[in-house]
Symmetry: C2
Subunit: 273 residues, 2 copies
């Protein structure tokens, strides 16, 4: 496995080959969720590239940029064992300069849900993803469905900017207790983790209602709020796959999204129906 930190060196290295390239961009502290992305990339492409970069521009002031979990040695091992061909490990200086051209998230879809609780976050995400996609020029790029809005916005950007890459969504991986895997789960105390289980529980309850043909989103959200209480709820939304608000669940075209604060930790989860 090659480890490269210079973007131009990575571009050169990949240019020489005509093979299919699968790309998994991450912020490191790799867990089974990331491994699922890497495995999928490994199955579907001749070359697998993983990037590890804690991207400063997607953290707002006061957020956890400095505390974000770093497990470089474990990450390198995981990548090697997963058959990754190239690990891209840039610094902020490699990726950014001063007074740059920026990407700005869409006025509406970039500022609802996660974009409302973290205004400006998605502009930072889209900016680093655009750069990474241009550096790697992958055939396919893999993103977890846990960050559903992120996935949707990246797809939009790729479409609106006529980019040549297939964005592949990969299902959420859950811990044995049902909690969606996230690098930020390490911030939770034991008691907080117990409380956090209300999140998958609320989504499970929603899917049960739907299986009983109760499709009214007001009722579904009420039930979820009841289960999540007394956690601090940032949003519970029922949307179609274009991320528009709907009043009635449409099977095959619905996403239910939740964001909750447990202690100081922001936790996201969703189901796609």
């Amino acid at each position: 496995m090659k480890i490269i930190s210079d973007p131009l060196e990575l571009k050169e290295h990949l240019k020489k080959s005509n093979s299919s390239v699968g790309f998994v961009p991450t912020m490191g502290a790799l867990h089974e969720g990331h491994i699922a992305l890497i495995k999928r990339a490994r199955q579907e492409n001749e070359i697998v590239v993983v990037s590890i970069f804690v991207n400063p521009t997607q953290f707002l002031a006061g957020e956890d940029l400095d505390k974000y979990p770093k497990k470089d040695d474990a990450d390198k091992k995981i990548c090697e064992l997963s058959g990754v061909d190239v690990l891209f490990f840039p610094t902020a200086e490699d990726m950014y300069s001063n007074d740059e051209v920026k990407i700005c998230a869409p006025n509406v879809r970039g500022y609802v849900l996660e974009g409302a609780t973290r205004p400006g976050h998605f502009s930072g995400v889209l900016r680093v993803v655009m750069k990474l996609l241009n550096i790697v020029s992958p055939t396919r790029a893999y993103f977890g469905k846990k960050d559903a809005q992120q996935l949707n916005l990246i797809r939009l950007m790729v479409k609106q900017f006529f980019m040549d890459v297939e964005i592949v969504p990969v299902d959420i991986v859950r811990d044995s207790d049902g909690l969606a895997l996230s690098s930020r789960n390490v911030y939770l105390s034991k008691a907080q983790r117990e409380e956090a289980l209300k999140i998958p529980k609320s989504l499970y309850a929603a899917s049960k209602l739907i299986s009983k043909n109760i499709l009214d989103t007001v009722k579904i959200k009420e039930e979820m709020h009841a289960i999540l209480s007394p956690l601090e709820i940032k949003y519970v939304e029922v949307l179609n796959r274009d991320f528009e608000v709907i009043e009635k669940v449409q099977i095959g075209n619905t996403v239910i999204l939740v964001e909750v604060i447990v202690g100081k930790t922001r936790l996201l989860d969703n189901i796609w129906l």
Copy 2:
């Protein structure tokens, strides 16, 4: 010559070939300045693509979006005669959808000079150019040096987003009376055009001072202001090629830029030393 308006059709058409592609993006109403770009592209590449698109997002409210000169038939003829292989002729609906991801010009370099007199203009330029470059995926893209700040910002965007294209600057083409060619020159009355000649005259005076080793930018700007008077001057600036303000001309690393309003018409010009 093929004429295509659908971006995806153009992408498909160009993907089939392995040849070098030279791209000249324009807003139509082609003049000798554009023809110089096309000729250069024709010399240096196997396939030449020209786009004609009056890009709405780079016009501010109150500007001349609706009046912008349109000469579609003449433009097609010029392209055919110049050996263009593909003419890309999209509509705004082909290029834009609602609530899009946007490009934002750099906070400083995007909002000085032209960016101060037309705030937001460069965000629109960079947005359409990013789209066009991704649709065409050219080997080389050609831009006139008359829009020097535009050229500089596009170069920055290509560099900062690791894009695979060579940006080729092409010298300003002047009319026989010295006025830099621009599609907007058609707005000028005969008298206004006479007045406009002060612009190249001021730049010529600047270059004479420099040839006499008078390199103090304060003196140079004073001289230029005197010549341009009483025209409405938006800016006269002496910068290095990184577009930073300098106090002393550096031969080989200087650009002198002028913007003046004649009647209601915005005219730009510059010299590179």
